[in-house]
Amino acid sequence: MAKIAGLKGRSPETYPSPKNEGIISTQSSVNTDAVTLNSVAPFPTPLLTAPIDVSGGAVVMYSGAVSGDGVDVTVSLVVGIDIVYTINVEATAANSPAPFSLVFEIDDTDGLPISIVASGPGAIVAADGSVVVIANNA
C-alpha cells in the first residue's frame, strides 16, 4: 500500500494501490503441427512447442482450434504445475475444427513457465495454436 499523507478521518484502504505500470515485453509461439491429445482424459497434452518463461505479471492470449467427434475438450492455462484458468470447448464432429481462444491475466508468474494444455475423451486433434504473452516486467 502506498503511503498516504494528509488524510484525516478516512481509511487509507479507500485508496487502493494501483497496478504496476512498468515496461512491457512480449513473447509468442506458434505450433504449426497438429497435436493429437492423449486419449486418457486425466493426462493433458501440451499444445505449445515449449513452455514460455516470463517474470512478473503477464497477460496470456491463446487461439487455436480443436476437432473431435462430439466431445468436450478441456483447455487449461498452467503456471508451473498449477492450473490457473480452464475453459471447455465442444468439438461437435470429426474433421470439423472448432475455433476457440482464451485470455487471462496472471498477477505474478514467480518465474514459473507458462503452458497451455488440453485433454478430453476419444480422438481429439488440436491445431493452429498461437500464443502471445505480454509480460509486465515492472
Binding site: 503511503k3 512498468g22 487461439s63 482450434a65 461437435t92 475444427p97 475455433p99 498461437s130 502471445v132
Partner: protein, 151 residues
C-alpha cells in the same frame, strides 16, 4: 530519490520516484460489418493496417482478429483465415481453420498472433484474408486490432 524543494512537514516518500520509460506501444484498429468469402482468398477486414516500424530498436506487432462466419445456404464448409504481413508473404503460422457445419448458424472465431521483429523504420502492412474450401460464407463483425510494441 529526486530532490524535492519547498515541501514542509510532508514526507518525501509521498512523492514516489517515477518509473522508467515505458515501451512504445501504438495501436490501430478497424471493424468490417460484413464481407462475402469465396474459395478465392480475399481480405475480410475493413482495410489492411499500415504503419512504419519505430526508427530505433526493434519492434513487433501483435495481431488480434475476431468475428463470425456463417453460411447462408449450405454447411460443411471449412474456412481458412490467414494473417498476412507485408501483403505478399502469407505468414503460415498466423492461421486458423474454422468449420461452418450448418447453414445460418454463425460460428465465432478469433486469432491472436505476434509477428517476427521488424527492421527499423520499415513500412509494414498487415492484412487478414480468408478463403473457403468450397462455396460461400459471410464474415461478419470482423474486428481487427494491431498493437505495435518495441522489443
Amino acid at each position: 530519490m529526486p530532490k524535492i524543494a519547498g515541501i514542509k512537514n510532508r514526507s518525501p516518500e509521498t512523492y514516489p520516484v517515477s518509473k522508467g520509460k515505458p515501451a512504445l506501444v501504438e495501436t490501430q484498429s478497424n471493424v468490417n460489418t460484413t464481407h462475402t468469402v469465396t474459395d478465392v482468398a480475399s481480405s475480410i477486414v475493413e482495410a489492411p493496417i499500415s504503419f512504419q516500424a519505430p526508427a530505433t530498436g526493434s519492434s513487433k506487432a501483435i495481431v488480434m482478429v475476431s468475428g463470425v462466419l456463417s453460411s447462408p445456404s449450405a454447411g460443411g464448409i471449412d474456412v481458412t483465415v490467414n494473417v498476412l504481413v507485408d501483403t505478399d508473404v502469407p505468414s503460415p503460422p498466423g492461421t486458423v481453420v474454422v468449420a461452418v457445419p450448418v447453414a445460418d448458424a454463425p460460428v465465432p472465431f478469433s486469432l491472436v498472433f505476434e509477428t517476427t521483429a521488424f527492421t527499423s523504420s520499415s513500412m509494414q502492412t498487415i492484412d487478414v484474408q480468408a478463403a473457403t474450401s468450397a462455396g460461400t460464407v459471410v464474415a461478419g463483425g470482423v474486428s481487427f486490432v494491431v498493437m505495435v510494441s518495441s522489443v
